[in-house]
Amino acid sequence: MIDKTVSTVAEAVAGIEDGSTIMIGGFGRAGQPVELIDALIDQGASDLTVVSNNAGNGDLGLAALLARGRVRRMICSFPRQHDSWVFDGLFRAGQIELEVVPQGNLAERIRAAGAGIGAFFTPTGVGTELAAGKEERVIDGRRYVLDYPIKADVALIAAYRGDRWGNLVYRETARNFGPIMAAAATTAVAQVDHVVELGALDPESVVTPGIFVNRVVAVSPRRWVENGEFVGGVDVDGEPLEVAR
């Protein structure tokens, strides 16, 4: 029997090595696998390259990992936010490397890694400093630059429901980078709100087929709320969110 579920977030992140490239799902807080990141903090791997759209919010999740000095390099589209004080401090102190990639190119580079594409010509960023040094070509009258896949050793993502084969469905805009990161990583780890029986997910609606997923761990209830943000939100079952702390 195939059973990709594990009981604890510690098992879910076991074996991650120093120097790894880790993709971390989420767009801001939505879809960010906060519980897996906490487990990674406990697990201890360091000298990491992290690929994630943002560079942490507040003091939780990715921000907490950064605060421990465990990340050598960030690849992201939008590190600077109103609550990205942890990253900001590290960057200004020269304690973290940064590669900024336009969001769509970031997504497409991750998708290319999972889909076995060697490189692709994108029109995004042409003529800007973020395309400096990239190969450029005019195709059918339009300018493009060449971008390469981004692969990872591990992807940490958050989904809504998963089964023991690793099939996943997501919830609303928390889907964001999860599906493409799962496919781009050697080992994909998904935290889910609920593990369901095999067959409980509609095969027409599975977003990430289990072939892309190695470990699934249930983390319900999620710790969604901090400093009053999103207070009063509803949980995955429509129940009012509790403030986590």
């Binding site: 990639v101 769509g104 497409e108 964001n176 999103f230």
Partner: protein
Amino acid sequence: MTGIGRVELAARIAQDIPEGSYVNLGIGAPTLVANHLPEGLEIILHTENGLLGMGRAPEPGRVDPDLINAGKQPVTALPGAAYFHHADSFGMMRGGHLDICVLGAFQVSSAGDLANWSTGAPGAIPAVGGAMDLAIGAKNVWVMTDLLTRDGSSKLVAECTYPLTGVGCVSRVYTDRAVFDVTDGGFRVRELLGDTTVAELEQLTALTLEERS
């Protein structure tokens, strides 16, 4: 001379969006346009973090942390909405499927170049997000901005001095003083707002402006 306020400008832009359009409203001032879309007309809003058919902000107490817009603010989804992942969402943009996007700007050049992601200030942390994808992706890229910066210099320029977001991508600029089309010959005044005159605009921008024929 006086122009119009930001809310009026948002309403002015909303008037120009036809029913049935697929529209992305950028972070910041362009978000205001959503509040002025004509009641009863169906205009479908895209947010690049994975939703078509975005609705208004939720009622207090019904905030859902999984349902946010590109500005990471809580939103709702309309009947007929669809969710998708980031590669699909940006494929939608890059592939030219959006009819209109409305973006803020630091500068727009007479060739339609847009600078809106970085002032290039020393020590600033670079952060681009989806700005470059939006700039090159939509069929019509509209800019919503004040004509002048706080220190009085023109945001309409002969050539951008700030780092570019996209080259030759802007088709129209809505400012507090006038609406401009970007043509092969540079900015053309499409509509004057408030009591502004073309002569005043030329003085403020130091540009030669075409008038709508």
